[in-house]
Every structure is written in C-alpha cells, then in structure tokens.
C-alpha cells in the first residue's frame, strides 16, 4: 500500500514538473501560447501572443493573387480592379476569403477575413522605396497599383505580348514588399530599439501584451509559419501549404485548419520548399522558426520588465538569423527561377513543342523570377551593385517571341519594347543570375542549378587515368 502511494506521489510530482517546465519555457516547440507578463494587465486573457493582423494580410495576398488571374481581356476590368483594390488597399470588413479555401479533406476554419482580423489591408504595409527593377522609376506601392491595373485588363492575368504574368508578379513582389520588408525592416529592426515599444508597457492601451512581445509576434506573423512548425518536417510544411496534409496541419485535432495558427503561408512555404528540394542540405524553415521561438522566450522571460541591453542584443541576434536566412530563401528563389527560365527557353525551341504552352510556362516562371528579384530588393539592406547587376541581367521584361523586350514605359502608360536580344544571350544572362546569387548569398539548396549539371558530370567522370602515361 505504501509502495503504491509512493508510486502515485512520484507520478504526480513528475507530471507537475513536466507541466510547470512547459509553462515556464512557453511550450518550447510551438510559437505560443506564451503567458501574460504585462504587470499592469488585469484582464481575463492568459495568452499574450497575437499576430492575426499579419495572418489576415497573408490571406489578402492569397486572395489578391487569385483575383489577378480572373481578367477576361478587358470586359470585366473595371469591376475586377475595384475588387482587387478592395483586397490591396481597402479596409472594409467581412470580405470573403478567396484563398486559401477548403480543399477536399483539408477544411479551413474561416471563410471571411473578419473571422481572422478586421479592417486590414496590404497597401499600408507595402514597401514604398524606389523600385528600380521595374520600368517607370516608380516607388513600391505605385508599382503594385500599376500591376493590379494591368492585371485587370489582361486575359487570365497574362500579358503575352510583353511577357508578363501578373498574378505571379504581384504575389512574389508582395511576399517581399509586404511580408519580408515589414518583418526585417520594421518589427525586427527599429521596434527592437530601447526607446520604442518598451516591454514594461502595453503595446497599445488595454492590450494584454507588452510592446516588445507584440512587436516580435507581428514580426513572426509576417513569416507565415504555423505555430507548430518546429514539429513539422519540410515535406509536411509543404503539404500543409499545398492543402494536401490535413493531419500535419490540424495541430489541435479539432477537424479544421485554423488559418490563425495552423496554416503555412508564402514565405514559410518557400523556406520549406527549398529545404525539401535541391541539395537538401538547408534548414531555412526550422532555423528561422527556432529563432522566432527563441526570441519570444527571451522577451517572455523578462516577465514584463524593460529589456536589458543584453536581452535586446540576444533579440537582435535572433532577428539577424531570421533576416539572413529569409534573404537566402529569396535568393534561392531567384536562383531557381533563373534556371527555370533557362530551361523554358530550351523547351520553346524543341521540335514539336506546344509553342503557346511552352511560352506560357516561360512567362509564368519569368514572373516568379522577377517578382522574387523585386522582393529581395524590398528588405532592410540596400543590395547596391548586386541589385543593379541582377536588374540588368533579368531586364524589365523577358525576351519575347520576336526577341524584343520591355525597356520602359511610354507616356500613355503602355510598355515600350525597343530592343532585342537573342535567346542564347538571355540564357547566358540567366546563368549569370545564378552565379550572382551563389557569389553574393550563401545559398546551398540550388534548385535548377544549370552549372550544377557540369559539376555533376565532371564528378562522375572523375580524374581516372589522368596521371597514367604511355
């Protein structure tokens, strides 16, 4: 009897120790829930994590991308532009979630944006520095608005004549100009300063979270990762983003995917995509996610006091890890799509190839290449000469079927194509883009590595017999 009592007591102690350690470190594997640390808070809430505004913006982005492909060549342009702008710039409540929606067994919990966060838009959080990668010497927001206008008059989002795929351009540019830019150039940058959003005060009056807690959470929200990402493999995260892996998405087992905490959106999706393909040697998703979780723990452990210089330095180190890895993910994307464009040019020349289909794929991949190249230029770092070189190589538009490419914008707002380039030369440019990415960024996944074919074959041939002489 005594032995049984002892066993029961040990079990209870063990369980309570495990439980208390989980609360103390804020459920180590997940991004939240984290306890309330704000000393002045007297409300009912017991979780200080909140980044629903950022999730709403990912949903706005996903929905905008779908709308950008719904033009019918002009007839519906006015209504479509208005609709797109309501997602990009508007703030009216109760907009429908166009994407991501439910798909088969993958059931999404929310159907309206209001269920996530109301009154949000993209434009207010859009990079507004100069965007020299795009014709017309415009600022970031102007470029996005021009793209939306052009998408509304295009047929299924494609301007074949100039080689533009608007859904891809808008989507990839936004992933940088909104998500990456806001995270690395705002929430994980100046908002970590001592005098900004202090940790001993609420982020805003009445909020259950401190200034630093919420700044960090918002920075996390822009990455678009599910709270339980550290328990997912890159393949699983990829499956969640593609709405194919319900089991991995539904962390709380309630039978629906909560977009607020269980979904993987664009930036995190691409981090996972590069970890699971190419060389498979990278760990972008988990490195970034772990830095977010560890950074949040630093803030939580301050327990509502002003962060010391040491603690802020730790946060900045985590922020630096996030920024450099996120930048590498964007560089990997530029690298990958430069390789795709190269391959698409080969396919277009093949005998018996479906020209229209091959050209469409080429324009789509170029849109992704260009969009990501603009995304990487929307961060905190001025990429300087690297950006100039990248823009010169990728050009304002792809080489089109008559070998002309966009060189600027006419006074009537249409694109000018007054120069030509051979396919070989443009492929050469793509190789140089890949080389530029590997030279300037420490990337390793290298999907679609065109020069990698040479390395692989050289490796296979080896150096057999080289020293043998007759």
């Amino acid at each position: 009897m005594l032995r049984l009592k002892l066993k029961c007591t040990s079990f209870i102690v063990a369980v309570s120790m495990i439980g208390s350690s989980a609360i103390a470190d804020g459920h180590s594997a997940n991004y939240g829930p984290f306890p309330i640390t704000l000393q002045s808070y007297s409300g009912e809430k017991n979780n200080s994590v909140s980044y629903t505004g950022q999730i709403a913006r990912h949903v706005l982005h996903d929905s905008l991308k779908v709308l950008a492909g719904q033009g019918n060549g002009g007839e519906n342009s006015i209504a479509l532009e208005k609709e797109m702008l309501s997602y990009f710039s508007g703030s009216e409540k109760n907009k429908a979630i166009i994407a991501p929606g439910s798909k088969g067994e993958f059931v999404v919990k929310q159907t309206t944006l209001n269920e996530i966060s109301s009154g949000k838009n993209i434009e207010g959080k859009f990079y507004n520095g100069s965007m020299m990668a795009w014709p017309g010497s415009m600022k970031g927001r102007e470029v996005a608005l021009q793209m939306i206008k052009k998408a509304s008059i295009a047929n299924k989002g494609v301007d074949a004549e100039n080689g533009y795929n608007w859904p891809q351009l808008i989507s990839k540019f936004t992933m940088g100009a909104m998500a990456y830019s806001q995270a690395v150039d705002n929430y994980l940058d100046e908002k970590l300063d001592a005098g900004t959003k202090p940790n001993n005060k609420p982020y805003k009056d009445g909020a259950p979270y401190t200034g630093k807690e919420h700044s960090w959470d918002e920075g996390f929200g822009y990455f678009g990762a599910a709270a339980h990402t550290l328990s997912l493999t890159a393949d699983q995260a990829y499956g969640v983003a593609k709405r194919k892996d319900m089991a991995s998405a539904d962390a709380n087992g309630d039978g629906v995917v909560d977009l607020k905490s269980e979904m993987i959106f664009g930036p995190a999706y691409y981090a996972a995509a590069f970890d699971r393909s190419g060389s498979k040697t990278t760990k972008y998703l988990h490195t970034i996610m772990q830095a977010y979780v560890d950074g949040r723990k630093v803030i939580t452990s301050a327990n509502g006091a002003i962060l010391s210089d040491g603690e802020r330095q730790m946060l900045k180190n985590h922020a630096s890890t996030i920024e450099s890895n996120w930048e590498m993910v964007l560089a990997e994307a530029v690298f990958k799509y430069a390789g795709s464009v190269y391959k698409d040019i080969v396919k277009m020349q093949e005998d018996g190839a479906d020209q229209a289909k091959a050209y469409n794929a080429y324009v789509k991949h170029w849109g992704e290449l260009k969009g990501f190249s603009m995304a990487i230029q929307s961060g905190r770092n001025n990429l300087g000469e690297t950006a100039d070189t990248m823009n010169d190589l990728i050009l304002f538009g792809p080489v089109t079927l008559d070998n002309s490419y966009v060189t600027g914008v006419s006074s009537d707002g249409s694109f000018k194509r007054d120069r030509r380039m051979t396919w070989n030369d443009y492929q050469f440019n793509m190789l140089k883009v890949q080389k530029l990415m590997t030279d300037k960024f420490d990337i390793a996944s290298l999907v679609n590595n065109k020069l990698g074919d040479i390395e692989a074959l050289a490796g296979k041939l080896g150096i057999a017999e080289s020293a043998e002489t007759d």
Binding site: Y342, K347, W423, I454, L457, E465, T469, D470
Partner: protein
C-alpha cells in the same frame, strides 16, 4: 594509424577499378598473357608461367626504380590540388562562351532520346580522351623541352605494368591538364547541345569503352609479353606489341605508335608501325641521355635539360 592510412592511400590505385593497375585488370592481363603463350604460341604451361613471372624482368634494377617512382609520385600527387576544380572551371568557361555564339541555340538537340545522348557522350568522351592522349604524347616526343620530361618514361629498360607510373611529376601535371581540357570540352559541348540528360555508360564507375580497354589487357602494353593483333586490327587498335615497339631503341621504331587505345590516329597522321615479332626489342635510353635507375638523375635531369634548352634559345636570339 595516420601512417597506415597514408600507405593505404598510396596503394589505393590497385583497388580502384578506374585505374589501369586495378588488381582485377592485372589478373586478367596475367590470364590473357598465359592464354596467348599456351594457346597461340604453343608454349609449355610451366615455361609460360616462368616467362610471365620472369624474375629478370620484375626484379631488374629498372623495374625496381619503377616501383620507387610509383611510391614517390603517389606521395607527390597527394600535394597537388584536386584536378576536379580545373575540369569544372574549363567546362564552365567553355559552356558560358558557347552562349555567346550565334550559330546554334543552347539545347538544340535536347529532344534527342536519353539513350542516344548517353551513347553519343560515351563514344565522344572516349574518342576525345584517346585523341588528346595521342596528341600530347606526340608533342612529348616532338618538342625538346617536353621530351626532356617524357624521357623519364622511356628510360625504362624493362617494362612492367607499373612502368605506366614511371613519369616525371611535370608530365603527371601535363596529363592531368590534358584530361581536364578534353573532359571540359566534352562536358560543356554536350550539356550545351543536349541539356541535362547527358550521362555516361559506365561499368564499375568507368567509361564502358575504357573498361573494355582495361579488361582486354591494357596492362600488357608495358610488359615483356609481346601480344600482337591481326594486321588489319592493328590499324584500329594499338596492340601491346605495337606499344612495346614504341619503347624500342631501334631507329626505325622511333616516333611511332603514339596511340593509347586507338591506332587510327597513328594511321591518319602517319606514325603507325605494325608489330613485327621477328625482332627482339631493346628498351631504354643511352646513359648520356637518361638514367634508368638513378632516382636523383630521374627527377632532377629534366629540370636541368629544360634549363639548357631555354639558355640555348636565348643564346641563339
């Protein structure tokens, strides 16, 4: 342990099927030599075995020098930076250059079926590699400063399979570059024209044609077993006897049979000499030209000779 690993790495060529002296190829060469002597030359089995394992050959002072040179060169090669980088750099350079010409589009033949591409690449790689060997070997004999290096190989007075390694380290570097250039050319041209489906038919990691070259007695080229082919075949493939003739000191054999596997290059460029089993061949060089056994002379003399050649050129000018 470190020393043990070093010794293992020095002997690694015997266990690497990509190398001519791979133990399996050596055994096959012994078998071929035995069959040749017993079946074709009607030699008594015991006498055939005594001839194959002739002590006078394998323990000659020249052969002993071969063995020492093999080990010294292996140690030296550990310090030479990996060739692979050179190969990739050359291939990449040519590949990029190909994009700047306007005659043919990258991936022009990319719809060719993979099996045809692999077959073409396997053949092309073998031919370009063999031709570059012929060319560089010819230059080694024709240019004085290259001959100063190459004569180390020809100073062998007896031939054993390890004579293939009896080369001055400078020649090793030249052959390494040759390999890099030929492979770089083949890789870049094929990937440019055919895309990423380019591959090689291999057996045990080696080009299938090179594998055939090895299992049919490539080691007998440097041996005392004078296997000749039918005359017509000696126009196409270099027989062991033809290569032994290349090492002969007889004047009529000088500057003949530079080819490695194929005889066609010698045939085309007028340096072919068919085997002749009526003559006993003598190998080596005059002592005044190169020592067959003195290692210091073997390693140093090429530098001194090159210096003499350079000084002579400057004096003339």
């Amino acid at each position: 342990m470190e020393l043990f690993n070093q010794i293992i790495s020095i002997l690694a060529d015997f266990t690497d099927p990509r190398k001519r002296v791979f133990i399996g190829y050596l055994f096959l060469s012994l078998f071929i030599a035995f069959v040749w002597l017993v079946v074709f030359k009607r030699t008594n089995t015991k006498i055939a075995l005594i001839k194959i394992f002739d002590k006078k050959i394998f323990f000659s002072k020249s052969a002993q020098a071969d063995y020492k040179i093999f080990i010294i060169n292996r140690v030296i090669s550990l310090f030479i930076s990996p060739l692979l980088l050179t190969q990739i750099a050359i291939a990449t350079g040519i590949y990029l250059l190909l994009h700047q010409q306007g005659y043919i589009q990258s991936g022009y033949f990319s719809s060719t079926s993979t099996s045809i591409v692999v077959l073409l690449f396997t053949l092309f790689m073998f031919f370009i590699d063999d031709f570059s060997k012929y060319l560089v070997h010819r230059w080694m004999h024709k240019f004085h400063f290259l001959w100063a290096i190459h004569k180390v190989h020809h100073s062998a007075e007896t031939l054993t399979p390890l004579t293939v390694y009896r080369v001055h380290p400078l020649e090793g570097i030249l052959y390494t570059l040759r390999s890099a250039v030929s492979q770089g050319l083949a890789i870049s041209i094929f990937i440019f024209l055919f895309g990423s489906s380019v591959d090689l038919y291999t057996i045990v990691g080696v080009n299938v044609l090179v594998f055939i070259f090895h299992i049919t007695g490539s080691n007998l080229r440097h041996s005392h077993i004078s296997i000749s082919y039918w005359s017509w075949l000696e126009y196409i493939l270099i027989s062991p006897a033809q290569h032994q003739l290349h090492h002969s000191i007889a004047k009529e054999h000088h500057d003949k049979n530079y080819g490695a596997a194929l005889a066609v290059w010698d045939w085309i460029f007028g340096s072919l000499y068919l085997s002749d089993d009526t003559k006993d061949l003598k190998f080596g060089l005059k002592q005044s030209e190169a020592s067959s056994t003195n290692l210091i002379d073997i390693y140093i003399r090429p530098f001194l000779d090159i210096k003499k050649i350079i000084l002579k050129i400057f004096r003339v000018n």
